[in-house]
Symmetry: C2
Subunit: 470 residues, 2 copies
């Protein structure tokens, strides 16, 4: 492809994206395709001769687009928002064009320094503990996801608990970890991937609001110690996936400190809310955390992937992860004055992801970020009121921030059928969970273009599809 | 940012990228900045009010651009190519605009199906073993990097060797792994991250061409078995980072089969060469491999990140990695007819990376990919001839594919000074390694716009900077 064709093709793609995002309501949110249906339309081999971009793009529209979920639709209320925005798309575009590698400071100093800088900005903006700021012993790094942050945190915790022996000799089978029964599945996955083992991760029970019980955590750690185990890691959550429950971080922190256990806090979705001073109470007690993460790629208008991961003592993480072959040695790294982010993550290579976050923060500005977050929270509050006012429905958890968990008062099967009929209708998309062993619908509000009108229309549709009480 | 501003700003960014890539020679390849110099110019906080994109972009050009390494310059010969191309950039742009999540088939069927399809295309195109094709028990997935593929392969291997106990009970301290002393540092890192432990990874010695000695591998596995260990994993390399050495895969495969050990093959850079029939000998013996990876984001004109990871038996990988909470359950997954790629990787979320690979394969076409790869290899062959013809220099390893390792015949210090003076001059960028305990320069040729003229000019510059023999 020549430069002229690229300019022309990119112009067309840009216009297509703008039209798509402005009018995403046109599409049914969830696709209606059967397994294998998309593939069956694709040729069995790539072409011998290069094709015109217009032909390739036409195939995208004709063959692939009908098989996509429209995550950016204002009527997408499933899972988590994963929202994007124009400045973020521009950041991803520029990053792709530059094609730099930020594995070492030396391989693109501005890539590393902008990342450190923007993550320091967020420490102040979100009122995170000062110990996560890079000016001290800590610092932040962009990971692809909260799952990877959990893996890195668990590795660092096991490294510290074993006084460095884990990385050299292999993981000690006596190490144990703790999280709540409501924690994200990525914590269990991390226990499998790091060699700790799922059975050595204790799932601590929760209170009526689905928050971890610190006294149960204390008892579990204490029992493990008495049994000769080495408690190494606790993962607490600010805003669980199922119900946006907030674990009591301050009390959990006191337990962790008492036993010298690493505390990781996952605020993947809820973390963004702390741009508003009135939600900074969420971070209360975070001073005791050894690591923390939240995802601008969920609710901060920044394309996936962008998870901000902070550690209070970067030396532990680096010491656990770092392996330096000759071909990566350089004066700057040896001088010790720079961050080499390859040592803060699983992959070696890394693209220039700070660019999109920098574009978003500057293009929106703090004021506009706050307005957007408040508007989403207000939508959820309003939606919860509507649920309360309909005698057929009940709230299944205290509504918090941008998530409302609710259910038809009848049985699980009715709720399942309601969800499936809504998904098949296609005008909106919701997903589900189980709380107190009951099937529950989740209304997750946070798409860039979602307004109260979309939420009102969604509620009308839910009411329309919902059967009367038996 | 409104739609109109986005269209205008994106047009400007697209033009900037095209100009940048067409004229990347303008810039010194390596930046000349001191640690902290970039950050010192950035404001201490994001703005309260949103800024115009033009102002943000002006800051990018003024403050950040001078601090970047120009990886896409045709005069970049360091590390590995990491090349991009116009169709790939368009793929990344469109993926960012769509903002879909491909964690489950159900969350965007086309995202999953295109990925499976394009990775099947590559099985045929590169003459990879049929067992990696998704129509059987195997299949391919896009990972962010060969490092992550190594971690996933090692986890699957330990899972199989422990009959599934590793994920549940924690890694057995008797498990051992093997790779050559020339393998990439990511294999050592994987041993640290998975809980296997660096000391349980045996670094097998190599022959005069830096390839793993299968008889040494056999002896090491045999000795470990006799000592009560459980050999679980071997990582072999097609094209080592330091010298492009090719491990004897067929013989290594026989050793692995004899002992029932998982064989992972890393062809991160060299793998792309197999688009040319004359380089498909590289994959000889790969039938015995349990997993394999190569990086289109290195030499196949596809932006980072895009590593293609294949397994012969996907059920082992999925069984090791999968954790299914209620909120991810859906009919398609339960029907068992679909791939949910979240179970093939560490993160849960995933963006639509197959799009850029599909764009590249269709826009270039097989013929053009072959022409480009052959041209790069021819550049390297020519460069090696020039090295041979200058009595001050010698080849430090057999030149292979797109890599030439060479050195000034004098001491390490002379070579180090030569490299640093070239890096400081800035017109070209090379990096280094150590081979046979001697400091060696690496000429890695594979940037999208690199031609024989760039390579000739680079050699002239090296000759000019090189001192006479002492």
């Amino acid at each position: 492809m020549r430069s002229e064709e690229f300019r022309r093709a990119a112009g067309a793609v840009v216009d297509w994206i703008a039209d798509y995002l402005e009018h995403a309501e046109r599409y049914p949110v969830a696709p209606r395709v059967a397994p294998g249906e998309i593939r069956a339309q694709l040729p069995p081999a790539p072409p011998e001769a290069g094709e015109e971009f217009a032909a390739i793009f036409a195939d995208f529209e004709r063959l692939l687009l009908p098989g996509l979920m429209h995550w950016q639709s204002p009527n997408f209320f499933g899972y988590f928002p994963s929202n994007n925005s124009y400045p973020s798309i521009l950041g991803e575009l520029l990053s792709a064009g530059l094609g730099v590698q930020g594995m070492l400071w030396a391989t693109s100093p501005a890539c590393t320094e902008l990342e450190t800088h923007v993550l320091d900005w967020l420490v102040d903006l979100l009122a995170l503990p000062r110990r996560f700021h890079s000016s001290g012993a800590g610092g932040g790094v962009i990971q692809d996801s909260a799952s990877s942050s959990a893996v890195c945190a668990m590795i660092a915790a096991c490294h510290r608990a074993s006084e460095g022996r884990a990385a050299r000799e292999g993981l000690d089978r006596r190490l144990t970890a703790y999280t709540s029964s409501q924690a994200h599945s990525s914590i269990i996955k991390a226990a499998r991937l790091t060699g700790l083992g799922e059975e050595n991760l204790r799932l601590i029970d929760v209170d009526a609001q689905f928050a971890l019980r610190p006294e149960s955590l204390d008892a579990a750690i204490s029992a493990d110690r008495a049994a000769g185990k080495t408690p190494a890691f606790v993962a607490a959550t600010i805003g669980t996936t199922s119900s946006m429950a907030i674990d009591p971080i301050a009390e959990i922190g006191r337990v962790c400190r008492r036993y010298g256990v690493w505390l990781h806090v996952d605020a993947a979705m809820a973390g963004t809310a702390a741009v508003c001073p009135e939600y900074q109470y969420l971070n209360e007690g975070l001073d005791a955390a050894d690591s923390y993460c939240f995802n601008p790629h969920k609710w901060m208008f920044t394309n996936f992937d962008c998870d901000c991961f902070y550690v209070a003592d970067r030396s532990v993480l680096i010491d656990a992860m770092s392996v330096t072959p000759e071909y990566l040695r350089n004066r700057a790294s040896e001088g010790g004055e720079v961050f080499d982010y390859r040592d803060w993550q699983i992959p070696l290579g890394r693209r220039f992801r700070a660019l999109k976050l920098w574009f978003v923060l500057r293009s929106f500005g703090i004021g506009e970020l706050r307005r957007r977050i408040r508007a989403h929270v207000e939508c959820a509050r309003q939606f919860a009121d509507w649920v309360r006012a309909d005698p057929r429905f009940e709230l299944a958890a205290p509504p918090r921030l941008n998530l409302v968990c609710f259910r038809h008062r009848s049985d699980d099967e009715t709720n399942r059928r309601l969800l499936e009929s809504l998904q098949q209708d296609g005008r909106i998309f919701l997903s589900h969970t189980r709380l107190n062993n009951r099937y529950v619908l989740r209304m997750s509000i946070g798409q860039t273009r979602t307004t109260i009108e979309h939420v009102r229309a969604a509620w009308s549709l839910i009411q329309e599809f919902a059967p009367p009480m038996a």
